[in-house]
Assembly symmetry: D2
Homo-oligomer: 347 residues x 4
């Protein structure tokens, strides 16, 4: 059992709960380093549990009491049966319209970024992606233009009207990323960087949370729980491939993650076929598969000149191919009762 | 380099080639146990390769000479750019119409099988599946009714007009399975039972070859090559899930296998979402995803009373849910330019 | 619940049990194609289970009644707390002495095989391996010399006194393999070729059962159960690597399989570091690790001229390196209280 | 090609190199956020490469020029053929003596920690582990006592003389962790938290870098490269299990990682069988296997009362079992020519 305190609980209220827990014959542990205090009861738990829960629930400063057997709570559809709709300006992620996030893997230059931004806008994307801080496996690989990239993205937003999704890789960079970004992305390699999750949970901006390639679906939901427990419920889950023995694609796209996550959680689910396949030739079929399986959106890498890209060239689509993808996805979307971004419902 | 002999090459012709190989300074090895003899050249191979190939190609009894660096040849789209269409009665697998194979995991009784056969027929399936010989992980699990099941399937075919797909698990059973089945299924656990592949390659019936859960896409194509090398080109490839660390589904559906296989091979590709997910709740979204990704068909388990099924109950759909799946898949099929079975092209 | 009949149960006895099962309100299913009949009770099972078990146990022809919840029984240490010692001539697999099976991947010629056989004998191996029938991923790869290889192996046995382990890939070949081999190997790709397992279960020879690369430890024990249920308890389990995302070795050696199998089962456990790593440079460290972890033996590929090997050259050790491996393994063996083959216990 | 600048290179020197790169017809990119600047040359690279490398190498402020085709350089044995010995007080990691790091998963209380510290010291461990900041999959799980734990660990060091290994989970906490810890641990979930790696690379303390469970060996070496490129060569690599389909252990211990890492890199390699197995019953066999395979040390979880542990109880050994492990490991160490910690070489 855990006792989740209110954000504004006073130290005295927390202390009172701790004492009550210990009077009940348990050891109390309070998680350090978390904005919202969670008091865990440690020791043998038995049938008297229910009455204890009642007792703690009524104490001042307590938000709620939850059995520890549930691995995630705030992210669970059981506690929130309706779909969560994440709002980003006029974009609604998780509703009847699909969300298409597109743009270059990395912001490489002003010209490249603006060109791609206009191209994806005119093809129908409704959010712009672009990496400013890039977590790269190799320290010798291009690591992003940093703050300069953020300024370029802001200009692209101004010119196109597309809200901007970009990654934060460090709590330290978060303030500057927040100043420019509309949506904070947590990359796959940081999915279990719990401090970063907590900070992003306090930032008040919508979050795209990418699944770590070695992480189970349950781990992804636990990572979302870290963010939500800090008060941020605007979390978009993103499948982007898992590590398996199959080597014909860079990762294995876990397409089942789409219906599994939609069943277990109320949060919107998108899929990134560019990273999951690592091969532009498979991006369009996987995008169509994701929408057919019930995904709420897609994240697609687009580059004007993939062979010259500083990162992820082989998986990037050129603008005309992206426009073709959008036309094909639109047909599948209609077949499963979804609309493309910006389309009004048929009258 | 390998020299593939004609099926009707005489022992003398084979011997002459072996001698020519050894005169050229190589060791010759002839694969035993294969109908069609393949003579492998062993030893250092260098620039003179091309001229040697010419020499052997022109010898009596030689069908063709292939560099051994190509891992599969007959299954490759490079050697056969057009899609192969597998013909089963009036059914065409791999053409514009989807192929829907549906039925119970196991044939358990005449009533159950006929009931399901009529149900899937009326919902629009065009092939009937049903296990007579079941390879089961546990020796204590129900292993199929054997020959009795084959007779029941034959009756179901007669009543519904649906051709029958059923598994052969042993070269020894193949003659009796052949007598009843229209399509021979090689199950996932037998994908690398190379003797069985060779025998099925000689049987003259279309084959559904299921991917082993621990096997790479390349291994699947090599298994197809075993069948095709014996003269049987009527092979349908079936993705049915791979083993990974993810535990929310029984296997991980490798949806990328669909576009990867369609690019590498000319053979038709279907997907079995019942086995890949192990959970009926995910069968319909995965079926739609497969069709959106370009699959030529689906294999779906249907049971009138899943909780009482002798095998695979949790992943079986009841007939009304299967009919609903068919309606949903039909919309996706239309979105990707495919027809449902038995539908005429729009005029 | 399953009712396992005695091997010599008469059709009348079986029929009587079936009728008793059905009178009890269950459906009875008898596994076809199995020498020893197993009658499964199908239907809702509740508290009356215990009394029913008693009733069936006492019927003529019944060997024992087992709850179906146990996935494997004969292979379980719960039903057989003492270690099983598999006897092959004077060799005892599973006792205080280690068993070292060594030899070429494939029998390629008489000279090569005899040379390697003498070399591994003089280095201290106590069983000779050599492939006669090779299951190869590619149909163009060398598939073994077949019967000729078996004769060469027999000669090697005669000259060295080493008993011979060789693979059977097909029930059809089993009689000829049996005539020459002392131990039948079931290869990784055939671990779930259940018909072959059943036939080998009836053959009366010790079996080395290799784990399939995509199969869980529990699946391996179920495969052993298939063999044991046919009456053959002389099963040696062999870990040889599993498929994972790691690509610096051919497979990932699941070293934990050794203590896990020793805890769950009474059967002897050996490890094949040649196949699991696919790289001779890692064979010796892995061999030592296996013995340190409690393995009862090793299977090692040795070739006089690895670069010219017709199969698995890169993972084969030359005889001097094998002799060095034996010296190093001997030290580890002593450290964990085991003896090398043929060594007498210290007085 | 990348140009690695000296740590003390001036902005003017960096600018001069950038200009020289661009004059050569390439685009220059400088990694932001890295102490030591690395200038990457982007554009088509051909035969003139060698002469260019010479030109840049001789420029002021340039440390060295490396072809980008090598994925890791500083961590590679090619660039550093001798074994690196990491020095922690009088402890030498990577030399003839094994390093045994033992202690509780988490510091839970002063009494528990001191008791375990004395126990592992008297059993022969030479470094103390204990978690102060715990990255936990669930936000509801015990997350460590934080700074209070660090103080307890410092007291344990004072009482036992054992240097302390503890994890840093956030660049922000690093200064406080550094104040107390002798060795900084980077946990598996943070292996690709590249900012944290860079900060730890600047901290001047030895580092234990744990492999992420979904990361390849090459990725681990790239993560080490991030640390080393900042000037910290005192990196100890730790295998702690990878995610696979096998479910009888929590992770699959990749024992091959030991010889593979020893071959590819000069850095010391240790193994953590407690986390890799998740089951105390397998810890001792795996510890022995690791030493037999060539590991330079072990990291073992010890708890006085595992069932009451706040984290990882099932995988923790009680002190008497740990002492038994040490006795058994000592025999294996001797068999492979290694000494236990603190033992003098035999005279």
């Amino acid at each position: 059992m855990v006792i989740i305190m209110q954000r504004e609980a006073t130290p005295e209220q927390i202390q009172a709960v701790i004492e009550a827990v210990e009077e009940s014959g348990f050891r109390a542990f309070v998680n350090p380093g978390v904005e919202r205090k969670v008091i865990a009861l440690l020791g043998a738990m038995d049938a008297e549990k229910v009455s204890l829960a009642d007792r703690f629930t009524s104490m001042p400063g307590v938000e709620r009491v939850a059995p520890i057997s549930e691995p995630y709570k705030l992210a669970s559809r059981q506690t929130h049966p309706d779909d969560t709709i994440v709002k980003i300006g006029r974009v609604r992620v998780g509703g009847p319209s699909l969300t298409i996030i597109a743009g270059p893997c990395s912001v490489e230059s002003r010209e490249q970024t603006l060109e791609v931004a206009h191209a994806v806008k005119s093809a129908g994307a409704n959010l712009l992606r672009g990496g400013a801080f890039k977590p790269r496996t190799s320290p010798y690989a291009f690591q992003g233009l940093g703050r300069q990239a953020l300024e370029i993205l802001a200009q692209a937003r101004e010119e196109t009207g597309l809200a901007v999704v970009t990654e934060a890789v460090d709590p330290h960079d978060l303030p500057v990323v927040m100043r420019y970004a509309d949506v904070i992305q947590i990359g796959a390699r940081n999915m279990q960087n719990f401090r970063l999750l907590q900070r992003v949970g306090q930032c008040g901006k919508p979050v795209v949370l990418k699944r770590g390639p070695g992480c189970r679906i349950q781990d992804l939901l636990m990572a979302a729980e870290y963010i939500m427990l800090e008060g941020n419920r605007q979390v978009i889950l993103c499948e982007r491939g898992i590590t398996t023995f199959e080597d014909s694609t860079r990762y294995t796209t876990d397409i089942s993650a789409v219906p599994v996550l939609k069943r277990l959680s109320h949060l919107p689910v998108i899929l990134d076929p560019s990273h999951s396949s690592g091969d532009w030739r498979y991006v369009t079929p996987l995008a169509k598969a994701a929408v057919a399986a019930g995904a709420d959106g897609l994240m697609i890498e687009v580059h004007s000149n993939p062979p010259a890209a500083l990162s992820d060239g082989p998986q990037s689509l050129e603008p005309p191919k992206f426009a073709q993808l959008m036309r094909e996805v639109a047909k599948v979307a209609r077949a499963v009762g979804r609309r493309m971004p910006g389309r009004r419902p048929a009258q």
